[in-house]
């Protein structure tokens, strides 16, 4: 466990010495703020729901941008050989790096939105129950998107490819239920409907914490981190 934390710490530090964390965070904040102001002026509603449920495209673009270098760059530079020959399990490397990007996500992406809550508090009377639930959804959606991004990053040595694969993967998960129109009703369309990301998170944003949605989000995280670990381990039989 100590080793896992060592890797996480290094990841967080690495973010702050590279421009990527600042560029992504600045971009996210600008986009979110524009959305927040536009939505607030229109709805006059002291709630985070409309903001959070409109942010999907930010996750599609910026989550893979945070994770694209995680494993791809290590594989390109050969530093992965250092980690994988250290007394550390492969899954600890993956989980450690994932936690690194998750911490960055929380600090640079989620924490600044607390300022919006402050504004809502000053000018209105927000419902803190639904705000807490919205934040839980925000954390889970972030974790799910970052995990998918990690998996994309494990597949290649090229950061640009990792980014595109991650973004396309997220888009497909976002619109999975659209494909229902193609396959028609049945087991496949039920599965696709279940897979689609937004419906699981809209409940959180509306103030509902449903265990099926919790299970869904955590399974997405576990599955993609597991797949990323398998890709790293594939060197064993390749």
């Amino acid at each position: 466990m100590k080793n896992l934390w060592t890797i996480t710490q290094r990841e967080v530090k690495a973010y702050f010495v590279s421009p990527i964390a600042y560029v992504v965070s600045a971009a996210v904040l600008v986009m979110m703020s524009v959305l927040f102001v536009a939505i607030l002026l229109q709805t006059r509603d002291s709630s985070l729901r409309p903001l959070f449920s409109n942010m999907f495209f930010l996750f599609v673009i910026f989550a893979p941008a945070l994770t694209m270098k995680q494993l791809a760059e290590e594989q390109r530079m050969g530093t992965i050989e250092l980690l994988l020959t250290s007394p550390v399990h492969d899954w600890q490397v993956v989980l450690g790096k994932f936690l690194g990007s998750f911490i960055l996500f929380v600090v640079m992406w989620l924490v600044p939105t607390l300022f919006y809550v402050l504004i809502l508090q000053v000018f209105g009377s927000p419902d803190y129950g639904s705000i807490l639930s919205a934040y839980l959804g925000f954390l889970l959606i972030g974790a799910a998107c970052l995990a998918l991004g990690m998996f994309a990053s494990s597949l290649t040595q090229n950061q640009a490819i990792a980014f595109i694969v991650g973004a396309v993967g997220l888009l497909l998960m976002w619109i999975a239920d659209v494909a229902v129109a193609i396959v028609g009703p049945g087991a496949v369309s039920d599965a696709l409907t279940y897979l689609a990301l937004p419906r699981h998170f809209n409940d959180f944003f509306q103030g509902m914490i449903d265990t099926t949605n919790l299970v869904y989000a955590l399974s997405v995280v576990v599955i993609f981190l597991f797949l990323a670990t398998q890709v790293l381990q594939s060197r064993r039989w390749r």
Partner: protein
């Protein structure tokens, strides 16, 4: 087999190791032992299987068949125990360019649970003479410094076994000497395996050489004995003042002389049966025929020739 005094089992035991990628055989039935405190050199051309062997020993990838044990632990089944005991310098030095030298070595020490990290980092920085660069970003270092940071990383947890893939590549001559001295000073306490395709490196640093070619060990001995062993025949160099075209033919009349060839300026290279010293006969003939004997000595093959001979013979089979 090694003629090193042992107490207990060898530190590294490799038995019938094989590795294939699809149809390509990278390692083919390789077996060897390394005793505690030995410095063993893997010598072979690029693509011979040196890196693959090292990657298996360090737990980076498993063998396709066969077993390897380090300090009694199986490299596949007890991989974590093995990794704790190994310091590894891969062929591509694994450096995070955005970190300072100190932070990087501290990170490596933490990964391997070194108790007193500051002392350990300072110790290896001194050993590899990179102390004055502690706060420099690794990305700003020259190739030679990066290589030394890589070596420092492999030493930071004082591993029982040190595995170095081409440790002196990219260094200038002065640094090469420093690193070789450093490696030699590790003998006894650490067990070292290094790979190289530079021959003098082996004879200068290693107590034993494994020559690897096409995934097989083609020879294994001390650098000196390897030279003697590969000499299928004794070579004698003769230099005379009066060069003549019939001299080789005359020399070949001596019993035990296999062949004689004229080189430049009255120099002749004579091959004789192994274990027979024909110098007296050759000297007598030279004096008797009035060739004007200038020089007569046995020639021992340099490791370069040994290496070339071993690897080309292997390919010819």
């Amino acid at each position: 087999m090694p003629d090193v005094t042992t107490n207990g089992a060898p530190t590294i035991q490799v038995q019938n190791l094989a590795k294939w990628y699809g149809d390509f055989t990278a390692l083919d039935d390789v077996s060897f032992d390394v005793q505690k405190g030995e410095i063993v050199g893997f010598l072979g051309p690029n693509g011979a299987g040196k890196t693959t062997t090292m990657r298996i020993l360090t737990g980076y990838m498993p063998p396709s068949s066969g077993t390897a044990r380090v300090a009694g632990y199986d490299v596949f089944n007890d991989s974590i125990e093995v990794r704790k005991r190994i310091g590894y310098l891969p062929e591509t030095v694994p450096l995070y360019t955005e970190m300072t030298v100190w932070d990087y070595l501290d990170f490596c020490a933490r990964l391997r649970s070194v108790p007193d990290r500051d002392a350990a980092v300072e110790r290896v920085m001194e050993m590899t003479s990179i102390g004055e660069r502690a706060d420099t970003l690794i990305g700003k270092l020259s190739k030679g410094f990066r290589q030394r940071v890589g070596i420092a990383q492999a030493l930071v947890h004082s591993p029982e076994v040190l595995i170095m893939d081409e440790p002196t590549i990219g260094l200038d001559p002065k640094q090469i000497i420093d690193i070789r001295n450093l490696i030699r000073s590790l003998a006894g306490e650490h067990t070292v395996i290094l790979s190289t395709h530079i021959l003098p490196e082996v004879s200068q640093t290693c107590s034993r050489v494994l020559i690897i070619n096409d995934g097989k060990i083609v020879a294994e001995d001390t650098p000196e004995r390897l030279g003697a062993r590969v000499r299928g025949a004794e070579h004698i160099r003769l230099q005379v003042a009066q060069a003549a075209p019939d001299i080789p033919a005359e020399l070949e009349k001596i019993q035990g002389v296999l062949s004689a060839q004229a080189q430049a300026d009255g120099v002749y290279e004579i091959e004789t049966n192994l274990g027979s010293d024909r110098r007296a006969d050759i000297a007598a003939m030279a004096v008797q025929r009035g060739w004007g004997l200038l020089e007569l000595r046995t020639v021992s093959l340099s490791l370069e020739e040994v290496f070339l001979k071993l690897t080309t013979e292997e390919a010819a089979q």
